[in-house]
């Protein structure tokens, strides 16, 4: 890589780093081109040499976030032990990742930025994260899809490059994701704040319910 390009990349990274800080402090609306520039010791318009516009910067933040998210889940799912243990590890990593930067979690999975379209590249990364979750599914006997949902789920499994998984495993993976996301999105939005209930306990209970859910059915 060119020397110039190296500096350029460095500047981009710095801008994104500061943007994440602003995000953590003041939410999405706090990500201001001028404010980021000021923190970098540069005027606002200078940043337009590096990002087409504010949306492009946000999009990169989202892309990078997905990448990091998928890496984290993949690493956690790669631990040893029973499927249940690996689910616990993955779920724990998921919660830690969300709580470490709540605003970033919401940037990825919360209110969509109006007019924002997910670039194809992030979709493949999201698939990688889902693959990590699916890798914690216990073994299952393959049988014919029963019902419309089963068929759609099976088709989805093929679409994301997981043709070896049964509909039940795929559906279970979806449940893991949607249920844990339900808890996490409410927790990061502070919806449990005044209930006096420790979200960590609720989360753990849900993970165990997911383990039990597989056994019982």
């Amino acid at each position: 890589m060119d020397r110039r390009q190296q500096y350029r990349e460095q500047t981009r990274e710095e801008a994104k780093r500061i943007a994440l800080d602003q995000l953590a402090e003041h939410g999405t609306a706090g990500i201001s081109v001028n404010a980021i520039g000021k923190r970098m010791g540069v005027t606002g318009p200078a940043l337009y040499r590096y990002f087409a516009n504010r949306d492009a910067l946000l999009t990169e933040l989202i892309s990078d976030g997905y990448e990091d998210f998928a890496d984290t889940l993949t690493a956690a799912a790669a631990t040893g032990g029973t499927p249940a243990d690996r689910l616990r590890a993955t779920a724990g990593a998921l919660r830690e990742w969300a709580l470490a930067a709540p605003h970033r979690y919401l940037l990825l999975f919360g209110t969509p930025v109006p007019g924002y379209e997910a670039p194809a590249h992030t979709l493949t990364t999201a698939t990688r994260a889902m693959a990590a979750v699916l890798s914690t599914a216990p073994a299952d006997d393959r049988r014919a899809p029963a019902g419309e949902l089963d068929e759609q789920v099976a088709a989805w499994g093929v679409g994301i490059g997981q043709p070896g998984l049964t509909p039940r495993q795929l559906h279970w993976g979806l449940q893991v994701w949607t249920r844990l996301h339900g808890l996490l999105s409410l927790e990061v939005a502070n919806q449990f704040a005044l209930s006096g209930i420790d979200p960590a306990l609720l989360y753990r209970a849900e993970v165990e319910a997911l383990v039990a859910c597989w056994e019982s059915r």
Copy 2:
């Protein structure tokens, strides 16, 4: 009520109605005081006679939203039939309410507006919505709380004015809410868009899982 006050209230309602339109069209950021004023045939600053600031307007939108939300769930939960039937009705009403105005759903339960503090009034309304969900819980034998979570949940039950419910019923109610919210929040954020899976089917399956979840345990 005074004639003056009546007009005043009418103007406030109109502003909120238009704000909801803007919300549906352009998201939270699209709620602009100037734009609302223009649609009302009035300049922007005129609205500051009616709302202290933009945040106050948003807060009222949230309060009204909670009210409507609680009304909807309460009505749905008041139908007859078995507990399972009433859960199905309530869950169906919940999804319809969310999909009828996705942005409003996210305004209530999605990314928190930075610096926004829920007024006490909305908390009691949220409790009313939770009561509707809890009213669909099947009967249960009372027994001593087992574990830290059970105790916290029991205390929460007392706090929200539901001392007659068992920890298991309360926890089940929380699961209903968090699981359905998990699905809905992802659906309104378009996260299932490219999977080819019909969110309605996924939702129905989750409701049935919640019914079965009670039986099995």
